[in-house]
């Protein structure tokens, strides 16, 4: 049987406003619990919401970036349900008249082709607080610092057919909102959270029953949760069962999912227009002004990186799609002047390190300036690439002598590369003198075999130099010397 998967995403994106969507409290992450919750966030009696215009502006920016229509009249509604981290007993959100209507995000597939993912709408709403179930001796703690943080919920059409496409879509969205500077994009702090709607069907059939897996807070969890759910649904149907419409929870730590509530148990949210907030009227001049000031978007940057830095399309994509990566790369280039090396290091050593630690580039312990300082030492031949990797490792750890400063580390470890050609010549001469047999073999060998035989000599020379000889110079001098012996 040929199964087809159908996936739609709802992406909760925290907007990078300084204050909350309906109050003046700070949105800064990581403060002591309940220190950034004012009377409005606590839903004290008599308090009233006032819309943060900055949140509105950011939502409009997003709409314009994805070619959407901006709702000329958009309105807030109350979504009613009881939960301790929802102080008012309702969430102020948008339903009938969202701020962003339609639009699309184009993703690149593995075969190099492009696929358009349509956006149904995106709406403004407030985030809830957090319930903390550990460390309270059987009770629950409530932290309302996050309550009232502005979100846009971006709702896609069910246009994705596998986890890879969903992942590409999510990453593309991440790139767009970070490029617009309307979201800090830090996944570990919940800045982007995904709900995935998944169904499967036989090719050509009607849509299957879908399930919704909620609140996935990393790309990896989202990818795994989708794969797991697709597998579960197919197994279920192939075993003669039926998929039930339900909301599911995925636990990334154990890589397991479970049903949270069935369709029958779903809340009746009793939405109705929020009488405390008047509908927002947006005029064309406001939209035009925002449109004129939109920053560079990932696709444009991708092109620019190819032209400006002579990068391959692949590298330009890796470096240009995500705003934080692009900033890091360009800052590094500004400081070291070598785009090629900077690209290699950011997409190579740094990316590998970040991946292995599941970190985002914003969290890198090595800053762009520090990496640039290291790259400069490669360019000026102070250290070899190999040494540089060792220095980078030390910078990453940051706890040894020299901290994150490459020059201090190079000095402390005595890693300076020997680029004094006189000194290298002496070493080469010594090794050749001590390797009569290998030299004989080299001379008698066929021309085509000779390059392979160089490794022995290089190894010996590097060893003699305690790894500090500039490998390029070693190669050059060695070849000249051997040629003389032919």
């Amino acid at each position: 049987m040929t199964w087809e998967t159908v996936i739609g995403l709802e992406v909760h994106t925290q907007l990078a406003t300084k204050t909350k969507i309906f109050s003046g409290a700070s949105t800064q992450f990581g403060a002591e619990p309940n220190t950034q919750a004012c009377a409005i966030d606590l839903a004290m009696p008599g308090t009233l919401p006032v819309l943060n215009e900055e949140a509105l502006r950011m939502a409009v920016m997003f709409g314009l970036a994805i070619d959407a229509d901006i709702g000329k009249i958009s309105a807030f509604e109350r979504k009613n349900y009881f939960y301790p981290d929802l102080p008012k007993g309702y969430q102020t959100t948008q339903l009938e008249k969202p701020i962003v209507l339609g639009g699309h995000v184009d993703i690149e597939l593995a075969d190099g082709s492009t696929k358009t993912i349509r956006i149904h709408h995106a709406h403004l709403e407030e985030d809830a607080g957090k319930s903390l179930h550990e460390d309270f001796h059987g009770m629950s703690g409530i932290d309302l610092n996050r309550a009232g943080t502005p979100l846009i919920e971006i709702v896609s059409e069910p246009d994705m057919n596998n986890a890879d496409e969903a992942l590409a879509f999510a990453k593309k969205l991440h790139g767009i909102v970070t490029s617009l500077n309307i979201c800090d994009g830090i996944m570990a702090q919940g800045s982007m959270r995904f709900d995935v709607n998944v169904s499967v069907r036989q090719k050509g059939d009607e849509l299957g029953t879908r399930t919704e897996t909620k609140n996935l807070n990393s790309f990896r969890f989202m990818e795994r949760a989708i794969k797991k759910e697709v597998e579960r649904q197919i197994d279920l149907i192939e075993d003669g069962g039926k998929v039930l419409q339900e909301t599911r929870l995925y636990d990334g730590d154990t890589d397991t999912a479970r049903s949270m509530r069935s369709k029958e148990e779903a809340n009746d949210y009793r939405y109705f227009p929020c009488p405390d907030l008047l509908p927002i009227e947006i005029d064309q001049a406001y939209i035009d002004a925002i449109k004129a000031s939109l920053p560079e978007l990932p696709e444009a940057r991708h092109q620019r990186f190819m032209e400006q830095y002579q990068l391959s399309s692949y590298d330009a994509g890796v470096l240009g799609d995500d705003a934080a990566t692009a900033n890091f790369f360009e800052t590094a280039v500004d400081h070291c002047g070598d785009a090629k090396l900077a690209a290699n290091w950011v997409t190579g050593e740094l990316a590998a390190k970040l991946n292995s630690q599941e970190m985002q580039i914003q969290q890198s312990p090595v800053s762009a300036e520090q990496l640039a300082a290291l790259i400069k030492r490669i360019s000026d031949n102070t250290v070899s690439n190999k040494m540089a990797r060792e220095v980078f490792e030390a910078m990453w750890q940051g706890d040894g002598e020299g901290g994150n400063d490459p020059d201090a580390i190079i000095k402390a470890r005595g890693l300076k590369q020997v680029s004094d050609s006189g000194a290298i010549e002496t070493l080469v001469d010594e090794v050749i003198a001590n390797s009569a047999k290998q030299v004989d073999n080299y001379r008698s060998a066929d021309e085509s075999k000779r390059p392979k035989m160089l490794g022995y000599f290089v190894g010996q020379i590097m060893k003699a130099s305690k790894g500090q000889a500039n490998p390029q110079q070693v190669n050059e001098i060695l070849l000249t010397k051997l040629k003389e012996l032919l």
């Binding site: 008599g46 009233l48 009881f82 008012k88 109705f272 405390d276 008047l278």
Partner: protein, 483 residues
């Protein structure tokens, strides 16, 4: 002193006839000795009042006193007062001390007024008789076995009994005008958006509006000067200049066209009330106003529409009272659900629960269109009725309520009969129009109210008409048979 109007008291203070401490002390003494008969106060802030009064006397002496410096006022216990318990007439908030002032409270503090206390009210302003208060019913100073009206019954009774010269109040569906009528005082509900709702505990946000209660139109105008104005903390407040409402009180009303809605003189109207109201209208005519019969054809739909919209909004507004962060929490909840269920079951009274249930029902999936949406459509029709009427007339006049004060328990087991007491007042809330009630006669020593409804932001015209009427009548000067 207690028989003087606010304007007279201001003159007395400014002339040095008495000090603010003496004035404040006088009213505090009256409250102490007499309010056991009326139960119009939930909290009396004696110490706070006297401290304020002393400061006012210093400012008066120093000559840097604001406009209403040293004059006493009392706030309906729906307005948040910093450091002073604000109960909203409910067990739910019996222990609630706000850390902030309502904008209205703040404005009166800035004007130098002295806060005597917080007045009794129907629980969460839900009621027309003050019988739903957790703190017990308020008694009508004119008849101790009768209700004072509601929900601002405490403020109305306190003024009628001369326990306070003026008071703040709120009106969601007649809650200023109906008790003003039943207690024989003057009360005004401003245009929706004229007075900030910040710090005023919400019942139905699209209908709630704070306003003044006083002995006469002049005092009400003085208070409205302080209350009205834009507030950035309330998104529904309107950015628009505030006129001096006292400046136009005396304008000639000759030539003014007064609309008389025929639907307000239907079979539900007590004939004695009608007689008093017609008599008052005749007086306006005497002063040169033209009376013109008009029709507000959707009037009969205002009570049903209101009793969908107001409970719907209330059902959400009152969700925050969950026992989690402030207010009443049941003893030893076993889990979250139990905490919610019992805190709300024990913290709210019956009428509040009834309205939350009705509201939640009207908003439920499958009923929303039939109830909430339909009610919102009716609301639009009612507004259109008024818009049409104001194309022909300058102001609308009629009865405030169909009947004078009724006895306690008279409508206790019949919520619909109670709701019908608001039949003439509710439409102004649905349309967002300003409206006021002023005394225009008595039935068996029970006051009768004349209602004026103005066009949007035409509070000044209403106050003008009311003041002119009060220049040629003395109903507003009568006091119940008390000391």
């Amino acid at each position: 002193m207690h028989n003087k109007t606010l304007a007279e008291l201001r003159t007395g203070l400014n002339n040095g006839d008495f000090s603010s401490v003496e004035l404040t002390g006088h009213f505090l003494d009256r409250i102490k000795t007499l309010d056991k008969n009326y139960n119009s106060f939930i909290s009396v802030t004696e110490e706070f009042a006297l401290t304020q009064a002393r400061q006012c006397d210093e400012r008066l002496a120093a000559g840097d006193a604001p406009n209403l410096c040293g004059l006493p006022i009392t706030h309906k216990d729906i307005f948040c007062t910093e450091g002073i318990r604000t109960s909203c007439g409910s067990r739910m908030l019996d222990n609630f001390v706000p850390p902030y002032n309502a904008t209205v409270v703040e404005n009166f503090a800035a004007a130098g007024m002295v806060v005597l206390g917080k007045t009794n009210m129907d629980e969460f302003a839900m009621g027309s008789s003050n019988e739903t208060s957790y703190y017990g019913p308020v008694k009508n100073p004119w008849h101790s076995n009768c209700v004072p009206g509601g929900s601002s019954g405490g403020s109305a009774a306190a003024i009628a009994a001369r326990l306070a010269p003026v008071a703040t109040a709120t009106d969601t569906g007649g809650s200023i005008r109906q008790p003003a009528a039943l207690c024989g005082i003057t009360g005004l509900k401003p245009t929706y958006g004229r007075v900030s709702r910040w710090g005023m505990i919400a019942f139905a946000s699209s209908l709630d509006q704070g306003g003044p209660m006083a002995r006469n139109a002049e005092d009400a105008a003085m208070l409205l000067n302080v209350m009205a104005g834009f507030d950035a903390k309330d998104s529904t407040s309107v950015e628009r200049d505030v006129p001096d409402y006292t400046a136009t009180l005396n304008q000639n009303i000759a030539g003014l066209t007064v609309g008389i809605p025929k639907e307000y003189f239907n079979e539900g109207l007590n004939p004695a009330t009608e007689q008093a109201v017609r008599h008052a209208l005749g007086e306006l005519e005497n002063q040169g106003a033209k009376l013109k019969e008009i029709s507000l054809p959707h009037s009969h739909l205002s009570v049903p529409a209101y009793y969908v919209i107001a409970p719907a909004e209330a059902s959400a507004n009152l969700s925050r009272f969950d026992g989690a962060r402030y207010g009443y929490r049941c003893k030893e909840p076993v889990d979250l659900h139990d905490m919610y269920m019992r805190s709300r079951a024990e913290g709210f009274g019956d009428e509040v629960k009834r309205r939350i249930l009705v509201g939640a029902y009207c908003l439920s999936a499958g009923y929303y269109d039939a109830y909430y949406n339909k009610a919102m459509q009716v609301r639009r029709l009612i507004k259109n009725d008024f818009d049409n009427a104001f194309n022909e007339v300058d102001i609308i006049a009629g009865p405030t309520c169909p009947n004078p004060a009724f006895e306690f328990g008279a409508k206790g087991d019949n919520p619909v009969a109670m709701y019908l007491e608001d039949i003439y007042t509710i439409a102004a809330n649905l349309a967002g129009l300003p409206a006021m009630s002023l005394p225009c006669g008595f039935i068996d020593n029970k006051p009768v109210g004349l209602q004026l409804i103005g066009n949007y932001f035409e509070e000044a015209r209403m106050l003008n008409v009311a003041h002119r009427y009060q220049q040629s009548s003395d109903w507003h000067q009568r006091a119940p048979g008390i000391e």
